[in-house]
């Protein structure tokens, strides 16, 4: 499936159409995004909800990548 992925890190902002195999979990998704995200620890949002470790990427919707912070 092809999903719109918005990478919104302060140092990198880009929209890409990402080919995501069905059943991909958060970790698998981040592996697919390695070129865009690198080693950064990131939050993954899917349709406004945070995707948690181990959760499977739904088949339709929009991915948003944001930086992980301990707080502000």
């Amino acid at each position: 499936m092809t999903l719109l992925c918005r990478v919104n890190l302060p140092w990198r902002q880009t929209d890409i159409d990402l080919e995501v195999p069905p059943g991909t979990d958060k970790e698998g998704l981040l592996a697919l995004l390695r070129e865009q995200v690198g080693d950064a620890e990131v939050f993954v949002f899917f349709n406004g909800k945070m995707l948690l470790s181990g959760q499977t990427v739904p088949e339709s919707g929009e991915i948003l990548i944001l930086p992980v912070l301990s707080g502000g």
Partner: protein, 571 residues
């Protein structure tokens, strides 16, 4: 290590001083753990917070005085005039570093002068503590006061001072510390501690470590090696090396916005239409484009490598405010429907100059706007209202008394406070673990008591939030009690480097589990103080509107069961 770190006591009525060594069986006791222990043991919980029986305890951690990164935070504790309970608020700056150099683990201000206008400056040096006349400083803003103090005492000292808010004993008044550039920019902001310092008749504490020896370590070679290892950890952790260092805490705004948890128009909304005008990217780009004195990265305390602070310049490149952080952008920006970085920075600077907490004043202004006393989005009106604080005018005194009083005066029930303290820039309906922390923390609504934003949980679900908040509250108390910055936690991994730093500095081997046990004891002491001060289960809750009004952007109400909140007492 220094032979025996001391606890210095200053009687503000008799102007006498004394000191005693830190209890030899508690060599790691410091910072929040020490202020909590002192306040719990020595302050009658039912006393008036601005009376002679309250004490203001300033304490550093066991690593203070060294140049290890991010270990020189100053904790200040007392009974809070704002919450009526125990309070600890910590800040960067040079004060704790210089305390460590002077071999002082805590300085305790006791009693109060008979004449409320008998202002003094405390000069603390290798020769002891001296009272100097501080009458000429009364009425000055924090920036002018700091300049006058550096002019008087030289630029090698550190400062802990109050502003007009503290002089007026306003409950939103904080305590300010000078940073390594001698800018008065680091704030023990929360809970009205500036009012307590003002009640003691102390305008400023001058930390003068000239002539003091270098901070000694039990094992200097091991300490140096651990410092280097810590630096390597910080420089190889993306969060500390990349995000905080280049974009500061403002980078969290996109996350809270995505969660529908960015306070907007007095916590009526969770997303701000003008977010992209005030987020980390906008801040970073504006600072770089303007150049001059602006800096995207800045160390708030000696030795810090994270450097999440910044200097925001005006259009001409002259420093306007340092730092401009997420909480300022949220509470003085989106919460007031103000989407202009310059306007926010001016409001921020004004709060700083008044010596008042930007969060509390931001919440109070939001409540006043919600009640119709001020227009949303009108930065000039907000600035004018804050200037009323400087004049001691009624509106200023209302706002300066905090969001709870502001809500009461204007008959508004939409008042985002817990234990009378204004919420920080996390709407608890969108980050429910933070809501649990707000509700159950001994400190009132304080995100730094246990932020859960980083946790691998569904922030919109009520499930699991109690455990997440509890874990975060304990870890925050661990870091607070070591005098460490909370942001260091991201780079500590298995904690072996931190434990080695502690061992090499103090000669005491400990474990993370032991530190967590000590943190639990501190939290229990704080809770016991609050209970005896009259704060019980009924105060461990969020305001009704958070449970009844769905935030349209998160789609959430705060629905963690109150019975679950009660279980936090089992900490």
């Amino acid at each position: 290590m220094d032979a025996s770190p001391r606890i210095v006591r200053v009687n503000c009525r008799t102007r006498s001083t004394g000191s005693a060594p830190l209890p030899s069986d508690q060599p790691l006791l410091g910072a929040r753990a020490l202020t909590a222990a002192l306040v719990h043991a020595e302050v009658p919980p039912a006393c008036h917070a601005l009376g002679p029986h309250n004490k203001l305890a300033l304490a550093c951690g066991p690593l203070a005085g060294t140049l290890a990164s991010s270990v020189n935070r100053l904790s200040i504790g007392a009974k809070s005039p704002l919450t009526g309970g125990i309070k600890e608020s910590n800040a960067g700056g040079t004060s704790a570093y210089l305390m460590g150099r002077l071999g002082i683990r805590a300085l305790v201000l006791e009693d109060m002068p008979e004449n409320a206008h008998d202002w003094a400056v405390l000069h603390v040096s290798v020769d002891g503590v001296r009272f100097d006349n501080g009458a000429d400083l009364a009425g000055m803003g924090v920036y002018a006061k700091a300049e006058a103090l550096f002019s008087r005492y030289g630029d090698k000292v550190g400062l802990t001072l109050i502003g007009p808010g503290g002089e007026m004993r306003l409950h939103a008044a904080g305590v300010t510390n000078a940073d390594p550039d001698n800018a008065p920019s680091r704030f023990n902001g929360r809970g009205g501690l500036g009012a307590v310092m003002g009640s003691k008749g102390i305008q400023a504490i001058v930390w003068d470590a000239q002539g003091a020896p270098r901070a000694a370590c039990a094992d200097q070679a091991a300490f140096t090696a651990a410092m280097k290892q810590l630096a390597a950890h910080i420089n190889s952790t993306p969060q500390t090396a990349e995000t905080y260092r280049k974009y500061g805490t403002a980078a969290v705004m996109d996350v809270t916005h995505a969660l529908g948890a960015l306070p907007t128009r007095n916590f009526s909304l969770g997303r701000f239409a003008a977010k992209d005008s005030i987020n980390a990217r906008a801040l970073h780009d504006a600072i770089l484009a303007r150049g001059g004195e602006g800096r995207i990265s800045h160390a708030c305390m000696p030795g810090c490598l994270i450097q999440c602070s910044n200097v925001f310049p005006d259009q001409q490149g002259k420093a306007l405010c340092s730092p401009v952080e997420y909480e300022n952008l949220g509470m003085l920006g989106s919460n007031l429907d103000i989407g202009d970085l310059d306007a926010i920075a001016r409001l921020n600077r004004l709060c700083n100059d008044l010596g008042c907490d930007t969060i509390e004043l931001g919440v109070a202004l939001g409540v006043a706007m919600h009640a119709g006393a001020l227009p949303y989005g009108d930065a000039a009106a907000a600035e004018a209202a804050l200037e009323e604080i400087r004049r001691g005018a009624p509106l200023g005194r209302i706002l300066g008394s905090g969001a709870g009083v502001t809500g009461a005066v204007f008959g508004c029930r939409h008042v985002p406070v817990v234990k009378n303290q204004g919420m920080a820039a996390y709407d608890p309906r969108g980050v429910k673990g933070v809501g649990v922390t707000y509700a159950t923390s001994t400190q009132g609504a304080d995100h730094t008591a246990g932020n859960t934003i980083r946790a691998n949980v569904d922030h919109h679900s009520p499930d699991g939030q109690l455990e997440t908040s509890r874990g975060s509250q304990i870890m925050c108390a661990v870091l607070d009690s070591l005098g460490c910055c909370l942001f260091l936690g991201a780079a500590l991994g298995d904690w072996s480097v931190m434990l080695e730093l502690v061992r090499a500095r103090t000669g005491v081997s400990t474990t993370l589990d032991e530190l967590k046990d000590a943190a639990r004891r501190t939290l229990r002491l704080e809770r016991d103080f609050n209970r005896r001060a009259g704060l019980g289960d009924a105060h461990d809750r969020l305001p009704d509107f958070m449970r009844e009004e769905r935030n349209p952007d998160s789609g959430q109400v705060f629905d963690v069961r109150e019975a679950d909140l009660r279980r936090m007492a089992e900490i």
